[in-house]
């Protein structure tokens, strides 16, 4: 094994343990209507207002596949560099629950629509490839609400039948940091593709986390536990840390780990047993006789391939090669589609280097402070581009630009106008500057003498004075040149 600094190991006594993690991510397909019905899928609608007879499983109602959701799943598969299965089968997963109206969930068990693929993670010590086992389409269940009434449970079926993609990774992840990078990368790819909005607060992206531990160097996997339905990256990381340590403690204590399903308690920051392997449901999977096997042609897949936009990995490569960005800068700028779009709009008409610095530096800091996403940025790409051009052509100094930027953040104003209205234009007239400099030297005769007698450090003092007198507007380069001559 490598001696990477970022290697995540748990030390107990003289033993080092490696953590093995696999994720089953449930990603809600971005679509107007549900997987097998025409009901709307909008988030936050009044309870039970987006429910059709099919979603509520009325007698004699039949599912009809939504072609758009199939396309979205295939596109996602293409984005994961995965094998697209031209024939897939919908199965019924049978279990009883109040928010599962049919008494079964339509899912894909043996023959998923997408097979093996991969995701590349950019970790601090280099790239890491995470294998994708499969991606399949399935229906979401409704929502049971237990806390509105002391005795009754309320059921909201708005979510019932909404299309989900279950993306199953291979057990290739080794640390909470890698899990963080994996989820972010998956989300980024799906957002580029427009197949899942990745909104974890709204439940569009959730994951079951499989965790096991083994002694470092061991080739065998340990017994795994599955932590169900974790809905934020932070909680996933906390759950993994807790669970891995729990398992190491058991091993160190000479005990065995039971294969089981566990829940993560976000308040207590611990996982606890939900059901053991013996109590696991027998879902009695069998092919849904209401649906024929799903068959897609090569043409259908090729057409979808032609709709795939440039994805983050390819974009990053292009940014590095074409714009000479560092891998670090490129990573940040391609991390989500809105940021890369913004960046590419800014550099259409302005300097790449300055644009990169201003976006990653000033803009991100300002947005962060206001808790805004890039699409909500008060400064449009066009105006940021203008600001950069004002710096580049010497109309304003970098320092003044920061003042202008602050004003632009208050509302999307044209930087040109701000500069004009506030008289912030840089003073680059040598004659005007000479007059200013003469006055400063006059006012500081003693210091000028000291400078001439060899105290060269005082040069900075004179530059500062000139800038101060000019209200920051003096062109620093010219000031330097003239001062050198005059002193």
């Amino acid at each position: 094994m490598s001696n990477n600094k970022s290697e995540y190991l748990i030390n107990r006594h003289d033993n080092q343990y490696e953590v093995v993690i696999g994720l089953e991510v449930h990603a809600q397909v971005t679509s107007e209507s549900k997987l097998f019905s025409t009901s709307a899928t909008k988030f936050g609608a009044e309870p039970n207002t987006q429910v059709s007879l099919v979603d509520a499983a009325f007698p004699g109602m039949l599912p009809v596949i939504n072609e758009y959701c199939v396309k979205q799943a295939i596109k996602t598969g293409i984005g994961l560099k995965a094998k697209i299965n031209k024939r897939s089968v919908f199965d019924r997963k049978n279990y009883f629950y109040a928010d599962l109206p049919q008494g079964y969930q339509i899912s894909q068990f043996k023959d998923p629509i997408v097979g093996e693929g991969k995701v590349i993670l950019d970790m601090p010590d280099g790239q890491k490839e995470v294998g994708i086992e499969r991606l399949h389409l399935e229906q979401d269940a409704g929502k049971s609400i237990h806390d509105l009434d002391p005795k009754n449970t309320f059921v909201d079926l708005n979510r019932s039948g909404v299309a989900l993609m279950e993306i199953v990774s291979k057990p290739d992840l080794r640390s909470p940091d890698e899990v963080n990078a994996y989820i972010k990368k998956l989300r980024s790819i799906m957002r580029y593709l427009g197949t899942c909005d990745g909104n974890m607060q709204e439940g569009s992206l959730r994951a079951d986390v499989n965790v096991s531990v083994r002694k470092k160097g061991s080739k065998e996997f340990g017994t795994r536990c599955e932590i169900k339905n974790v809905n934020s990256i932070k909680f996933m990381q906390m759950a993994i840390e807790y669970e891995a340590n729990r398992q190491v403690d058991l091993i160190e204590d000479g005990q065995t780990i039971d294969q089981e399903t566990r829940l993560f308690d976000t308040k207590k920051n611990e996982t606890r047993s939900m059901r053991s392997k013996e109590d696991a449901h027998d879902y009695r999977y069998f092919p849904d006789p209401d649906l024929l096997p799903l068959e897609v042609s090569d043409d259908f897949i090729e057409n979808l391939k032609s709709e795939i936009p440039e994805l983050p990995d390819e974009k990053k490569k292009r940014f590095i090669e074409k714009f000479k960005l560092s891998p670090y800068e490129a990573n940040i700028l391609v991390s989500d589609i809105e940021t890369s779009n913004y960046f590419e709009n800014v550099i259409k008409k302005s300097d790449v280097k300055l644009a990169t610095n201003w976006i990653i530096g000033e803009l991100f800091a300002a947005l962060n402070e206001k808790n805004l996403e890039i699409i909500e940025s008060p400064i449009s790409a066009g105006n940021l581009s203008k600001l950069i051009n004002l710096i580049k052509d010497g109309t304003i100094s970098g320092k003044i630009a920061k003042t202008v930027f602050e004003q632009m953040m208050e509302g999307d104003k044209d930087p040109q106008k701000i500069v004009e209205e506030k008289g912030l234009k840089q003073e680059s007239d040598p004659k005007a500057l000479e007059a200013l400099i003469d006055k400063v030297i006059d006012d500081n005769r003693d210091k000028a003498t000291e400078y001439k007698s060899g105290k060269v450090k005082l040069f900075g003092f004179f530059v500062g004075q000139v800038m101060k007198v000019s209200g920051g507007k003096a062109n620093p380069q010219l000031v330097n040149e003239i001062l050198k001559k005059k002193l």
Partner: protein
Amino acid sequence: MSDITKQSLSELVENIKSKKLSSSEVTKAFVERSEKSKELNAYITEDYANALNKAKKFDEKPNLDLKLSGIPMAVKDLFCTKDLRTTAGSKILNNFVPTYESTVTQNIWNEGAILMGKLNCDEFAMGSSNETSFFGNVQNPIDKNLVPGGSSGGSSSAVAAQLTPITIGTDTGGSIRQPASFTGTVGLKPTYGSCSRYGIVAFASSLDQAGPMAQNVKDCALLQEVISSYDEKDSTSIDFKRNEYSKELTKDIKGKKIGIPKEYRVDGMPKEIEGLWKKGIEYAKDCGAEIIDISLPHTNYALPTYYIVAPAEASSNLARYDGVKYGFRAEGENLIDMYEKTRSEGFGAEVQRRIMIGTYVLSSGYYDAYYLKAQKVRKLIKNDFDDAYEKVDAILTPSTPSSAFKIGEKTNDPVSMYLNDIFTVPVNLAGLPGISIPAGHDAKGYPLGLQIIGKAFDEQNILNIAYAMEEKINFKNNITDWWIK
């Protein structure tokens, strides 16, 4: 006209179109006869007042260009009918009123027919005698103590007793053809995918198919023409060119090759059935058909295969009846308790038996041995038919291994009850069309039926053969109206 209810559908349609009869007169006649026939227990829900109103409205502004203009009709209570209670013969749907209409019934109303009520059937269509209905057994108009067959027992009884000029049933393993055979009527199970399953309470999705039940082949062809349609709301509906079955109906079947499968000579088959089959072969020859001996080698495995596949699908299809959303609910201490009480009280014994069989065969560890193997055998059974149809155009068999049995005779012996479907079940497993026509009587005077099985989508051919043979057979039902006081 006092003999309105004795007229065939085709005659009634003609008489309404030529204004010799009004829809009100016809509807009133069938309503009155239905009301006098309560003892048969053919109806679960009567909708007579509405039917008479609709007939009156029809007569005020008659549209005589439709295929079923002004014809009253009762339908099996497995079809969801908008605003009229639909029970599937079960307590669990005792109070269920759909807000939607099945595609098949909608097709019927679109052709001008009028709903009279909902007909009794075995609970969730699970049964061969109509004795599993929560609403009580149905009597066969042939004889007081005789079952009318099942699951479409209310339908067969109502057509035979002329409470409705025609009706529709559903057939998962023989539920149209067996009751037709038991009551001396005609019943067609169409090719799987011919009639939409949308809005039909599901029993076994890969086998269920709606079809017409009539007093003669011509009426049957006309109704098949109306109910068969491609429907995007049913993913298993098939878009094929549908004939105008009644218009294209012909008795000319000269040179048609009809296969006689040797495997249908089952052990212990009554001599009368054997004799009927032989007579059927003669009738077919008389019509100019060529008789060819064929083999369907996997016939023996059809019944066990069916009793794995059908319960498996049923166990899942019936999971939705859980007391949460609609239908019957028994109060419970908690969710699980509510489920258990609702389903124990809401489902009858036969339905519970099949749910348990289905749950068992799908269980992990048993799936491969039962369900998966059954699916493989199902394929072999279908291949048998494909091979046979290389040589023949249709296949002739008895419809059932016996005539109608007595009420209560087989209720405690499910296996002997299941054996009733031995000749009909292979047809469902292979997704083929099959028609039962009355072909004679046994020693007790009970009707016996012959089954003609066709190639997929070849309804026209088996209707033609049935039409030609019907004339030669010249069957007369002995119904004495014993139930009318």
